[in-house]
Point group: C2
Chain length 464, copies 2
């Protein structure tokens, strides 16, 4: 592998440039959910587009139907070579609460993390700009060494953090341009520091909002309390009704279609270096909680959930206000596992909320987005080649794992393009994705870039 | 009653001036809870003090220990006359949400209410500036007709809407100056338009805040969901646990000391012009809700409650954020009835919240304020004289009623000064106290002033 060695050597020689470039990427506050950042989104797509041009790709910043643009880039595709579709996203979660950041969310800073390792801290560091950057490093390194050995199509969208609202229409519209033999997504984690991993399963998501309206206006709790339905109390009862005493989700039919964990998977996961105590301590808890009869890994990777993401009602300022609120609302999302049908779950949830509420309040239920859980086949050439690339990148054979998050694009690519996805993630579990002080480990950045460099060499062997 | 007729005639001649003066009072945004209005509080106390001087009273704006000042005013007390202690408050609730006001909260406007009657709309219109103004009109009218026939001490505080935090210390410190034979508070309602009433019972209040802390920081709901306690879900279960299926409050010992309603009271209340349907419709509901076995009047006046006043946790903006919040908190208040011990209720609530929460979350419970429910004797001279005054003021014998709100000062006066209180309220049930579009009916303003004018004449007959 003389060329690959040269590619890895180029990557090794750019460690400082990689951090500097990623810092530029991170300094652009590409918060997709906030209309105030609309110009930043365009600036971010343009910046990324420039870097991909340095890698010898033809790049287009393509509009979506009313949403943020998609960056699409290609090398010169040659007949007979396998085609790889690389997906990532350049948008990030909102940085709030700002006061909890040690250094600014959009002022990327290299410093030691809690375990004493160097990391780059910023919103989007690992989700997903840092992981996109691993691939850009690989593309640049191949460009310096004669060009990529595969046909590559890069698709980096700007709406992942808001449910990829316009991506499906975009992929359908441009399906011919996007056809590929394999898709690659780097938006997941290693199992732990020193335990690189390939992810073969993801949970789905059904994100709901429930609003309870009682009296037509806020009422004085003294003058009316006890004689009218209080939407705050009603909403609390509705949310409480979503779990039974065993921690199972109490929505009719919720578990009906769930594929049970195989004994093989349970055994394999028990061999991973994981302790319940360390897991709990890592998030500041004395112990975890969840569905009875399952370990924390099983709960996170293979069991469906129902979690409050936000509740708002009544007076929230300092001190006291004796008010019975007219409205109360909650954002509630369910993580789904393979074989659960999101539409059926959404309908069951909605019906349960309506049926369980008293007749003298109004319940409005909306679904922000839904996507199914998936498991990709762990046998086959692509997975084997990816594992070999990861071993080159990290110096260790990767573990096989599932992950609890959702990447709807994996399902979208399968449905629309008929293509399977490799999930090669370089993050660490303590990277504080979506939280203040998000970071990306500098070794992960480097080894991720090496893995990506090796991956393109390996995937060149993929049969068409 | 030649003098009283002259007093009433003076009041009748000042209808426009009364509205103009009250409008000036209402234009001052004396929001006690908001530090930004500190200067407005002083301006409001000063304005009121000036008006009381026109009534021939000696006035002092007296500081409290770190809180808003109290306005204290007296006529020249003469030996042998009964002494009346008049209490009111010049502070108001916050006006938010501002967008729901038809005309500005601090731009008092006379217009028709929903039933076609003229009313003055502004924050504080009825609670309590308008009702204080009824008494100022009476004082001015007596001043124009030879002076008040009783010894009067006026105490108007600026912290009623924030729990009268400094009032107890103030009353204790100035007890000698405040001693009286009877106290008068106008901060309650008529039973309905055309049904003036004297209130003989009030509920108490225990206002609590509960905060549940789970993980040490916000977590990604995909990566962690199902394996960690979600403070939003836990808080919802805690709130749901506060009622049983019969709508009774599920706090240990909650009903233990409750004085049951007497058959006489239940019978008398059933004779009041009240229908469940009209009550429900007046607040935009198809029907009321509450403790089984009681009418809405009984639920509001004589049964204790537990209501959510506010909940906050997680993401509350538009769209979706897949977060497991680190914290969730709720403001929850209980209305108490006579013979319930607030300290015991607070302790029971706190213990219930702690015991019902799972062990791997932290529960913090604080009490913002508490005060007991009260019933004042309905026999006796003061009540009879007040009823006669109200009949003169409104042209109709008043009904006897209780009310669901809390006026802690009634208990404070009894404990510290040993004095009973007359509750003569002029508001209407649809005045939207604490809500947008608060108002005071112009007829109520006028008849309230007449009632106050007659009251001082009547109370002159009170035996010392």
């Amino acid at each position: 592998m003389p060329t690959l060695n040269a590619v890895l050597s180029t990557i090794d020689g750019r460690r400082d440039q990689a951090v500097a470039a990623l810092s530029e990427f991170l300094r652009i506050p590409s918060v997709s959910t906030n209309p105030e950042h609309k110009q930043d989104m365009i600036r971010c797509a343009t910046w990324l587009s420039d870097q991909l041009k340095f890698g010898g790709l033809d790049v287009a910043i393509m509009p979506t139907a009313g949403g943020h643009p998609v960056v699409v880039a290609k090398n010169k595709h040659q007949p007979g070579r396998p085609t790889v579709l690389l997906y990532g996203h350049y948008d990030v979660q909102p940085p709030e609460p700002l006061e909890l950041w040690t250094t600014g969310a959009f002022e990327p800073t290299v410093r030691k993390d809690d375990t004493g390792h160097d990391a780059l801290f910023a919103r989007g560091a690992v989700d997903d700009k840092g992981q996109v950057w691993c691939h850009v490093e690989a593309i640049l390194a191949w460009q310096a060494n004669g060009g990529l050995p595969v046909n590559l199509t890069v698709l980096v969208e700007g709406e992942e953090e808001i449910g990829s609202e316009h991506l499906e229409a975009f992929v359908k519209q441009h399906a011919d341009q996007l056809r590929a033999d394999i898709a690659v997504v780097s938006d997941t984690n290693q199992f732990a520091r020193g335990v690189p991993a390939i992810t073969y399963g993801l949970r789905g998501l059904a994100y709901m909002e429930v609003t309870v309206t009682g009296p037509s206006h806020d009422l004085h709790s003294g003058l009316y309390g006890g004689a009218v339905p209080n939407p705050g109390n009603v909403l609390a009862r509705l949310i409480a009704s979503l779990h039974d005493a065993q921690g199972r989700v109490n929505v009719p039919g919720f578990y009906e279609d769930v594929t049970p964990l195989s004994p093989q998977e349970r055994t394999q996961w028990r061999s991973l270096p994981f302790t319940e105590k360390e897991f709990a301590v890592s998030v500041g808890l004395s112990e975890g909680t969840g569905e009875e009869g399952y370990t924390s890994l099983e709960r996170k990777w293979a069991r469906p959930t129902c979690d409050v993401n936000g509740i708002t009602t009544g007076y929230q300022g300092p001190g006291a206000k004796t008010v019975i609120p007219s409205k109360a609302s909650a954002k509630i999302s369910m993580r789904l596992v393979p074989n659960q049908d999101p539409a059926k779950i959404v309908a069951g949830f909605e019906r349960a909320m309506r049926e369980r509420a008293p007749k003298n309040v109004t319940v409005a239920v909306t679904c922000h987005s839904h996507t199914p859980g998936i498991v990709v086949p762990i046998e086959g050439d692509a997975m084997r080649l990816a594992a070999e690339a990861m071993e080159i990148g990290f110096g260790k054979k990767p573990a096989l794992m599932r992950e609890g998050g959702s990447i709807p694009v994996v399902n979208l690519f399968k449905r629309v393009l008929g293509v399977d996805t490799l999930l090669l993630g370089f993050g660490l579990p303590d990277d504080r994705v979506h939280s203040p002080n998000e970071k990306f480990d500098l070794d992960a950045l480097h080894n991720g870039a090496r893995t990506a460099g090796a991956l393109y060499e390996k995937l060149a062997q993929l049969k068409k």
